[in-house]
Amino acid sequence: MNKLTINGTEKEFDKLPSTLDKLLDEMKINHATIVAEIDGQIIPRDTFEQTPINADQKIELIRFVGGG
């Protein structure tokens, strides 16, 4: 099963993207504005290209929004 949990939602893929940057491209998410966490580990933005994606990972994609 090619399944990932992204921001709390399970998503199935026909074929898993090999790296985090490819996953973001596939989801049409702008890399420059986000920070990622995989299984509780923060992934620095400059390592997205080298970060492998494996089935069943819990991925959090986080961004800045307005706040007080």
């Binding site: 998410i29 702008n30 620095p44 929004v65 007080g68």
Partner: protein, 260 residues
């Protein structure tokens, strides 16, 4: 006017008004309100990316050359969640300044002092410049400055309530005891509330809802800017004594009347 810089963790600020970026009707109004305020520090929050819809990039509307980003840990219910958010914020922005807030109670959004102190201790050790949002508790404020926070930020009244300086007496004690800048945060609803806090000797104020939710946010932003300046000058000038009786301002001699 003489040099009157606010210094936090060695960084100088000309403006004593910090602005929140929540609740604006658009990024355009937010950007213009921030510009009108002349604020040099603006708060932002971290949230999950919406994976189904397009995400708007609000950071693009903020000129980070002019305004230091102060990420907050809003949404954290305990120290552990706050520390996680802090590290994500630092990874996302490269900024180690942090508004630490731990608010387990969803109704009044009052901060949890015990968890805030615990998180502050850990984050200071990890190299963060920590600006903790707290209830107006003078004992907690002392403990936080003792563990190395860069400021203390007592609330005037609950977040977004616009009720004003309900915690005045306690904030006065915090100001008297403080060895770090005191920033009055949350609940200031009007420029006069901000002026009042500054006249009391607060070092700065943080305002969001009162500006963002005003009829004309840009005009309100200018009004807060002027109020903070006026309040600060009033404080620096040293207030004249209060008396229970009248003290004539005009001479009590040379009246145009015949004495009998």
């Amino acid at each position: 006017m003489m040099q009157d810089k606010l210094i936090i963790a060695g960084k100088e600020f000309d403006s004593r008004l910090f602005i929140g970026t929540g609740k604006y009707s658009s990024n355009q109004v937010m950007a213009e309100s921030i510009a009108a305020s002349k604020s040099e520090m603006v708060t932002v929050a971290l949230r999950r990316v919406d994976i189904e819809n397009e995400n708007d990039d609000m950071l693009a509307a903020i000129d980070q050359e002019k305004h230091l980003l102060l990420p907050n840990t809003s949404g954290a219910r305990d120290a552990k969640e706050a520390v996680r958010l802090a590290k994500l914020a630092r990874a996302a922005s490269g900024i180690n300044w942090l508004k630490l807030e731990v608010t387990p109670d969803p109704y009044y959004l009052l901060p949890d002092g015990t968890e805030t102190l615990k998180a502050a201790e850990e984050l200071v050790k990890d190299g963060f410049i920590v600006l903790p949002y707290i209830n107006a508790d003078p004992i907690l404020a002392k403990k936080l400055q003792d563990v190395g926070t860069a400021t203390v930020m007592p609330l005037a009244s609950p977040i977004g309530s616009n009720q004003g300086l309900n915690t005045r007496a306690s904030i006065e004690i915090i100001i008297k005891q403080a060895t770090v800048p005191v920033v009055v945060d949350a609940g200031l609803g009007l420029p006069s509330h901000a002026a009042d806090a500054m006249e009391m000797g607060a070092d700065a104020v943080l305002v969001n809802t009162a500006i963002a939710a005003a009829g004309d946010p840009i005009l309100m932003s200018k009004a807060f800017k002027q109020a903070v300046k006026a309040g600060r000058r009033g404080y620096l000038a040293g207030k004249a004594a209060i008396s229970s009786e009248a003290n004539a301002s005009s001479p009590l001699t040379g009246f145009l009347r015949d004495e009998n």
